[in-house]
C-alpha cells in the first residue's frame, strides 16, 4: 500500500461498504450492544463469499495471502459504522501472534481461523495492579505482566493470572495471552472452556465493543510463541494493534465529519443553515484537517508495515488518529446541539469509541514518549 488507495482497494472498499450498508445499519449495531448477539455469522458468510477472511494469512494456511493494506480497507469501513469489533482481535492480532509461532500445530490454528471454524481472541492487557513494576502505570508494558506459567510437558503449561480488556470473548473458542515463565516471556493459547478459566463481562465505555476480564487458575495452556522470540512478536503485535486502531479511528472520524457536515447543511437556525455561520463552518474545516492528518499518519503506518520505520509510524499513527477522533467526535456532539446529547443519536457511540480506542494500547502521552525513545533523540 502507498499513501493513496489503488483501484483494487477502492473496489474492495465499495464491496465492504455495500455489505455493511445492507446488513449492518446502525440500528443493528445498536441492537447488538444491548444483547449478547453479534453479527459474526452474516459477516462470515459475506467474508467467505468476498474472500476477505484471512486476508493477511498466507495462502498455505488457508488465507488469501493479501496484506495489511487490504485489511486496512476493511477496518476503515468497519470503523465508519462501528461494526464487528471482533475483526481486530480475530483477523489481525491473533494471526499476527500465531504467525510468530515456530510450532506447526499452533500455525495450523491459522487455517482453522481462516476457514471460520474457530475464533481466537487476544488478551494483551494486564491489570495494572498485577504489575510488579510499581513505578510503571503503563498497562501495555507486557514484559511486566504478572501472569505466570509453568511448563508441565513439551509445549504444555499451566497458567495463573489475570487479563483484562479482553475483547470479543463471546463467540471465541480460545485466547492468546503473554505470560512469564522461568525461561522468559511466552505467548500461550488457552481454551476458554477449559477448567480454571473464569470470565466476567465488563461494562465498557464503548458499548459497541464488548470486553471481559479473564482469570486463569492453574488453567491448561499450549505454547504458541517461545521465549526466544516472544518479546519481539508481542511488541510487533502491539504496534500492529496501534496501527489497526488508528485506521479504524480514521473510519470513525470520517463518519463523524460526514454526519456533522450533512447536519450543518440542513439544520436551520436564525433563518439560515447553521453551516453558513463561520463559527460552524470553521469548526467543520478544522475537523477535516484532523481527519486528513489522521488519515495521512495511519496510511503511512500501514505503508511502513514490515519496514524499519514501522515502530515509529505506528506510535505516531496512534497519537494523531486518536487525538483527531477524540476532537472530531466531541465536535460532532457540539455541532449537533441538544440532539447530539441524546441516547437516540449515534454521536455518543462514536464519542465512546473515540475515547476508548485512544486509551487502549497506550494513550497519546505514552505513545509520544515511545516515539521519542524510538526516534533515538
Amino acid at each position: 500500500m502507498t499513501l493513496v488507495q489503488s483501484p483494487e482497494h477502492t473496489a474492495l472498499r465499495e464491496a465492504v461498504g455495500d455489505f455493511l450498508a445492507r446488513h449492518l445499519p446502525f440500528a443493528k449495531v445498536r441492537d447488538a450492544c444491548s444483547s449478547e448477539r453479534t453479527h459474526n455469522d452474516e459477516w462470515f458468510r459475506f467474508g467467505a463469499e468476498l474472500g476477505v477472511l484471512g486476508l493477511a494469512v498466507p495462502i498455505d494456511h488457508g488465507g488469501s495471502g493479501a496484506s495489511l493494506a487490504e485489511q486496512a480497507v476493511v477496518l476503515e469501513a468497519l470503523g465508519g459504522c462501528l461494526a464487528l469489533p471482533a475483526y481486530l482481535s480475530g483477523e489481525i492480532l491473533a494471526p499476527a501472534l500465531l504467525m510468530g509461532s515456530a510450532d506447526p500445530e499452533a500455525v495450523k490454528l491459522l487455517t482453522r481461523i481462516s476457514a471460520g471454524d474457530i475464533r481466537v481472541t487476544v488478551g494483551l492487557t494486564a491489570e495494572t495492579r498485577d504489575l510488579d513494576d510499581s513505578t510503571s502505570s503503563n498497562s501495555w508494558n507486557v514484559r511486566a505482566t504478572a501472569t505466570v506459567a509453568d511448563e508441565v510437558g513439551p509445549g504444555r503449561y499451566t497458567v495463573n493470572g489475570v487479563k483484562t480488556l479482553v475483547p470479543d470473548v463471546h463467540g471465541a473458542t480460545a485466547v492468546l495471552i503473554p505470560a512469564r515463565t522461568a525461561a522468559g516471556l511466552v505467548v500461550l493459547a488457552v481454551d476458554l472452556a477449559a477448567p480454571g478459566v473464569k470470565q466476567r463481562s465488563l461494562t465498557t465505555l464503548d458499548i459497541t465493543r464488548p470486553m471481559a476480564r479473564l482469570e486463569f487458575d492453574d488453567a491448561a495452556a499450549i505454547l504458541v510463541v517461545g521465549p526466544e522470540t516472544a518479546d519481539a512478536v508481542i511488541e510487533h503485535a502491539l504496534d500492529l494493534a496501534r496501527t489497526a486502531i488508528a485506521i479504524e479511528q480514521v473510519g470513525g472520524a470520517q463518519a463523524c465529519l460526514d454526519m456533522t457536515v450533512a447536519y450543518a447543511k440542513t439544520r436551520v437556525q436564525f433563518g439560515r443553515p447553521i453551516g453558513s455561520f463561520q463559527a460552524v463552518k470553521h469548526a467543520c474545516a478544522d475537523m477535516l484537517v484532523a481527519v486528513e492528518s489522521a488519515r495521512s499518519a495511519a496510511y503511512h503506518a500501514v505503508a511502513a508495515y514490515q519496514s524499519e520505520e514501522f515502530p515509529i509510524a505506528a506510535a505516531m499513527a496512534k497519537v494523531v488518529a486518536g487525538e483527531a477522533f477524540v476532537d472530531v467526535a466531541a465536535q460532532t456532539i457540539q455541532l449537533h446541539g441538544g440532539i447530539g446529547f441524546t441516547w437516540e443519536h449515534n454521536a455518543h457511540l462514536f464519542y465512546r469509541r473515540a475515547h476508548s480506542t485512544s486509551l487502549w494500547f497506550g494513550d497519546a502521552d505514552s505513545q509520544r514518549e515511545l516515539l521519542i525513545q524510538r526516534l533515538g533523540f
Partner: protein, 399 residues
C-alpha cells in the same frame, strides 16, 4: 527502468554534480548576500537548469518549457528537496504570473512575455492587495480610466513581494465602479519601470523587508496590456490565486524554524531532555512536522499514480502554520533567557517573530477555513451583505 525513473536518475545525477559546486545547499550561508547577488545567483541557476533541460518542466516547448507532465515535476521536486536551489525571486512569476498569461494572455502577449519570464531574464510581481482590500481583494479601489488608446492608473497596492526588483507585474484595477464589486475589475500587464510608479519597502515586524507598497500616480498602460477581457478581471484573478494555492501548497522543506531534531539536541545540551514535559513537546513538534510532510506526500503519490489529489493539498498550509507555531514556541522556551535578550543572533527569537506571517500570507487561516468549508465540504456560503451593490455605493469607497 521506466521513463520516470530514468528522468529521476538524470535529475539526481545533475544535482549531485552541480549542487555542491554552486553552493545550493542549506548549509551554505547566504545571509550576507545583497539582493542583486541573490538575483544573479537565481538567474545563473535557471540558465543552468535550462541548459540541462531541467527547467520549466511542465511548460509547452514553444515558450521554452520541456512539455513534460506533472509526474516529472513531482519527481524533480522530490529530488531537489534536499538542495536549496536559489530560485526564490522567480516564485511569483513562475507560480502565478506565467500560468495566468498561459490561461488568458493573447498569442502576442504570450510570445512576448512568457519566454523571457520562464528564462528568468525578466522578473514578475503580482499587484492585487491594497490597504483597504486584504482578504476581500474584490473590494479594491485602484482605478484604471480609459484615455484614448491607453489606461491611466491611480491608487496604491501593498504586500507586493519583490516589486523593487521586478520588470513587470500583473495588476488588478477597477475599471467600472458602477457594477457589483466582482464585476468591474480588469487585469493588466504593467511595466514596473513606467513613470508614476513608486515602490517603497515595508519593514516587517521581524525586521525583514520582503514586501513593498507600490503607488500608482497617473501611470499610463497601453490598451494591449489588458489580460483577458475588460471588466472580467475577477475571473483572471481567480486563475492567478488558484495557482498561488498550488505553488504554496507544494511540499517545501520545513526549514524556517528549528525542528524537532534540533530542539531535542538543544534540550539535551541544556540537560532538560529527561524532563517528561519537554519530551512530550518535542514529540508534538516532530509529529506536526511529519503530518505536513505526509499530506504533501499523499498529493505527490496521487499525481504519480495518475489520480486527482483529494482535499489534503488545501489543508497543508493550515497544518504548516500549526507546526511552525509549536516549533517556534518550544524553541523559545528552550532558549529561555536568551530569547529575551542575546548577544549576536537568536534563532529562537527570529523564529518567534517570523511565525505570525504564516497564518496571514497567501490567504489568512480564517479565509482558508471558509474556502475549505465551502469548496471542499460544500457548506453554504455566508449571506452576501453588501457584496452585490456597486462598489461606489459601499460606505468605505472613495471612488
Amino acid at each position: 527502468m521506466s521513463d520516470l525513473e530514468l528522468f529521476r536518475s538524470r535529475v539526481r545525477h545533475w544535482l549531485d554534480m552541480e549542487a555542491p559546486r554552486n553552493g545550493w545547499s542549506y548549509d551554505d550561508d547566504t545571509a550576507e548576500l545583497t539582493e542583486s547577488e541573490h538575483l544573479l545567483r537565481a538567474q545563473k541557476c535557471q540558465r543552468m537548469l535550462i541548459e540541462a533541460g531541467l527547467a520549466n518542466l511542465t511548460w509547452p516547448t514553444e515558450f521554452g518549457g520541456q512539455g513534460l507532465g506533472l509526474a516529472e515535476q513531482v519527481v524533480f521536486n522530490e529530488e531537489s528537496r534536499a538542495c536549496n536551489l536559489p530560485l526564490r525571486p522567480f516564485i511569483i512569476g513562475f507560480g502565478m504570473c506565467a500560468p495566468t498569461l498561459l490561461a488568458l494572455g493573447t498569442p502576442d502577449q504570450q510570445s512576448r512575455y512568457l519566454p523571457p519570464l520562464l528564462a528568468g531574464d525578466e522578473i514578475w510581481c503580482q499587484l492585487f492587495s491594497e490597504p483597504g482590500a486584504g482578504s476581500d481583494v474584490a473590494s479594491l479601489t485602484t482605478r484604471a480610466v480609459r484615455a484614448g488608446d491607453d489606461w491611466i492608473v491611480n491608487g496604491q497596492k501593498v504586500w507586493t513581494s519583490g516589486a523593487h526588483f521586478s520588470d513587470y507585474g500583473i495588476l488588478l484595477a477597477r475599471t467600472d465602479p458602477d457594477v457589483p464589486k466582482h464585476k468591474g475589475l480588469t487585469m493588466f500587464i504593467v511595466d514596473m519601470r513606467s513613470d508614476g510608479i513608486t515602490v517603497r519597502p515595508i519593514e516587517q515586524m521581524d525586521g525583514g523587508a520582503r514586501f513593498n507598497e507600490v503607488y500608482f500616480d497617473n501611470v499610463r498602460i497601453p490598451a494591449g496590456a489588458v489580460i483577458g477581457t475588460v471588466d472580467d478581471g475577477w475571473h483572471a484573478a481567480l486563475t492567478t490565486l488558484s495557482n498561488e494555492r498550488v505553488s504554496l501548497g507544494a511540499a517545501r522543506p520545513l526549514d524556517e524554524v528549528a525542528g524537532a531534531t534540533e530542539l531535542a539536541a538543544a534540550a539535551r545540551s541544556l540537560g532538560r531532555f529527561n524532563d517528561a514535559v519537554v519530551r512530550q513537546e518535542v514529540a508534538r513538534v516532530w509529529i506536526a512536522g511529519r503530518v505536513v510532510e505526509l499530506l504533501g506526500e499523499r498529493v505527490t503519490a496521487a499525481i504519480l499514480q495518475g489520480q486527482i489529489p483529494g482535499p489534503e493539498g488545501s489543508l497543508s498550509k493550515l497544518c504548516r502554520t500549526e507546526y511552525t507555531r509549536k516549533a517556534s514556541r518550544l524553541g523559545s522556551k528552550l532558549a529561555g533567557t536568551s530569547a529575551i535578550a542575546w548577544d549576536g543572533d537568536s534563532r529562537a527569537a527570529q523564529a518567534l517573530l517570523y511565525t505570525p506571517s504564516l497564518s496571514i500570507a497567501g490567504g489568512t487561516d480564517e479565509v482558508l477555513r471558509s474556502i475549505i468549508g465551502e469548496r471542499v465540504l460544500g457548506l453554504p456560503k455566508e449571506p452576501v451583505g453588501n457584496d452585490r451593490r456597486p462598489l461606489r455605493e459601499s460606505t468605505r469607497s472613495k471612488l
